[in-house]
Symmetry: C2
Subunit: 461 residues, 2 copies
């Protein structure tokens, strides 16, 4: 058998497939189905839809005690402009499966994606992993139908696990959230059900050029798969002096990258403690939502969803609604013949180990007006001014998990630095090769969710 890397490269170079000859048609059909998602006041959610504000805490939770809760978070940090704040946060202790089935057709790896409706999705239907389900879903707490294909991931005996790694999600909005990012290759017959389609990596990369088609979980899982394959970025990566066999090296050796990351974790102290939602300072519950007193950031809102293709045909739930799009901008540059990315060690209150790697700039554009020029994030102006010029390698709006966030759009932007761009950068930042990032994403909690998306988009562009 050829290496996983060679098979991933072949799949990425395959732009059409007889398994999915007309993706646009199929997708239009899925998107034409009768789905609805309607905002409702939180009071309606708690009056008749199985949710409640828990007495004594004001935390928003489901009567079953499962799914997720909205709780308060009290944060203190020694890093950045604000040293202490309170905020609502989504708490979901269960480890969900984000699982993609892979299979060879005509010698090319295909991935089984699902056109799935989520109430918070921009465009309602996006392409999700084969399985995207919490134990609450697949053990059927909501008494809905069985989660299709879940058995390949709960019991992969006999099939080949290409990658299976826990990764975090949005550390600003989730408390300690982590999910299994898993790809299982099957050899037996797996007929695609309605709403499912076998796609090559090349087809998926083409869809990644379009707004809001490929969902966050699919991007995250495929980013991890590239890490397991170790590519498809070139270079022989040998570095005898590093002492580690076949280890990718660049401006820094891998040991230096790991050492920098450890020192950032030691330097950027942040403590985040769950507190009762009722005790959160600077936020209020009014007009059917939970909002910040200055109306900034995000709100917690309710939605009513109707979809006959989901396990449950109708339901109500809370969502976190950001007040504007986020910019996730990555600066890249060839140094010594290797492509480097300028990543940032970002401390966020929801991260399990405080710091993960993010893009050069991650910024809620809603905050732009209220942020004085001198407090705007490092490199923001560089990334924004490059937009629309020839130095842009990728510039597409994709959205974040529509099962938890309402229309959370992110503009993913990859720009090439020109020669005038500084190589010496502030201590939070580091030039790391794309190969080194691929090597790190095989392990948990190095690359945040936006950087996993950018890694996937960058290697396909």
């Amino acid at each position: 058998m050829s290496t996983l890397l060679a098979r991933v490269v072949t799949s990425a170079r395959t732009a059409t497939s007889s398994m999915s000859p007309d993706v646009d048609d199929w997708l239009a059909g899925r998107r034409g189905q009768p789905f609805e998602s309607t905002p409702i006041p939180l009071d309606e959610l708690t009056r008749c839809a199985g949710w409640r504000f828990a007495p004594g805490t004001g935390n928003l939770e489901h009567d079953s005690g499962r799914f997720f809760t909205v709780e308060g978070l009290h944060v203190r940090t020694n890093h950045g402009r604000v040293e202490e704040w309170w905020q609502p946060v989504l708490v979901q202790r269960e480890i969900a499966i984000l699982g993609i089935l892979a299979k060879e057709f005509d010698g090319v790896l295909h991935f089984l994606l699902q056109a799935k409706m989520e109430p918070g999705n921009a465009g309602m239907v996006q392409l999700s992993p084969t399985v995207q389900a919490t134990p609450s879903n697949y053990t059927r707490v909501h008494r809905g139908g069985r989660t299709p294909y879940v058995e390949y991931f709960t019991d992969p005996a006999g099939d080949r696990v290409l990658t299976d790694v826990l990764q975090s999600e949005q550390g600003a909005w989730f408390h300690l959230k982590r999910n299994r990012n898993v790809v299982v290759e099957v050899t037996g017959d797996v007929p695609p059900r309605d709403d499912f389609c076998w796609l090559t990596l090349g087809q998926i990369h083409a869809l990644l050029q379009r707004r809001n088609i490929v969902n966050m979980d699919t991007r995250s899982v495929l980013g991890c798969l590239l890490g397991a394959a170790g590519g498809p970025v070139g270079g022989n990566g040998s570095d005898a002096a590093s002492g580690h066999r076949g280890e990718p090296s660049g401006r820094l050796t891998m040991a230096e990258v790991l050492g920098w990351f450890t020192r950032r974790k030691s330097a950027q102290q942040l403590s985040a403690r769950l507190v009762p939602m009722d005790s959160v300072v600077g936020w209020r519950r009014e007009a059917g939502r939970i909002r910040r007193e200055d109306d900034g950031g995000f709100s917690i809102v309710g939605v009513r969803a109707r979809a006959r293709t989901r396990e449950v045909h109708g339901w109500e739930q809370p969502l976190l609604a950001p007040h504007g799009p986020t910019l996730a901008g990555l600066v890249v540059r060839s140094i010594g013949g290797r492509l480097h990315a300028l990543v940032r060690a970002e401390a966020l209150p929801g991260y399990l180990d405080t710091v993960e790697l993010g893009p050069t700039v991650r910024f809620a554009t809603d905050d732009l007006d209220r942020t004085p020029v001198e407090h705007r994030p490092e490199f923001l102006d560089h990334v924004l001014s490059a937009s629309g010029t020839g130095s842009v390698r990728y510039d597409v709006v994709l959205s974040e998990e529509g099962g938890r966030f309402l229309h959370a759009e992110t503009r993913y932007l990859v720009v090439e630095a020109d020669d005038g761009f500084p190589l010496r950068v502030p201590p939070d930042f580091q030039w790391v090769t794309v190969e080194q990032l691929l090597s790190l994403v095989r392990h948990s909690y190095y690359l945040g969710v936006e950087l996993r998306t950018l890694l996937l988009c960058l290697t396909g562009s």
Copy 2:
């Protein structure tokens, strides 16, 4: 420059050094100094020594709010015989530096160790890293002297960082404890102060054959260094089919090991919440200590220490006192020409991500009498019955961190499995090559502290 691996192997093969011609003499001199450590009731600690039981919680804490606290922990799990329990736990949020300076003398890497007194040390003085200090120590909260050599680790600019990785410590006794395990190689002149000595890895391996000489932190840091070097275990480790350059493979590929580890984290659910010490069920504060009602496990006790070689010449503090030694037994076996270790995915309440890899058996021998035969840990009898036979590769009592634990001795035992030993093992267990373990210990939170010690002892024996 030759590779780090080659330099580590050379150091391990160098059994004597002109830098430290008579280690025994030096060590006897250090151990002959006037140190004292006397048990005192907790009430004495809180009456006059800067510690207190916090009103409202009963948590034991220092007046400065720093160092560490003793709090309550409420644990629930779906795994194992006991589904819910309460216990005291040590809480230390600061990331300490466990740092060893390395330097070449006569072409051989030496490591600067310190003969350091800790109040809980078996034998009072053990060999610690060059620096073993929390920010509370090295920023001088206790108003003592400066921590020598700390500047090499807080600001390593110009020196070469050989490894720098956060690792956990005892997940049964510490809540979310993590420390920097760091080795910095210097080229400039570093004169050893009193109590410090340059030793080769070969000299350290010889000292590891003796009871209670090399302390836990030194073992942990050197275990991480072996990971950074990728050795000194042989084998070419190439595995083209895995798709990852130069990746160590054995009975399982690295992708399979990582996938198994992720699935164990998903399967072994455990939630641990800090609660007020006063609300801990099944424990009481009496006769000057905090003890379990059945007197099992461990107690929290007070000690008074006197040592003129420490930054502060005398102090009082609480310690966790286990009621008997722990057995940490590792079964190893050559499979397909490669040495494999039988490791266990162990869920412990203090681990940041619930599960880390432990030895085949980790067992508090104090509990042996009260544990019915049918509930004794898997493989315990095998490990105990091998003891004293030719299949033992390593069998030495070493102790755990004497700054937090009182005489916490662990019997580290490595035994070779005979041909009758099962290759198929229960789902918590896995055969992993020593090379794969070395590759994992470069990253945080894969190998628990006992397995890091065993890895070091195994590769030196």
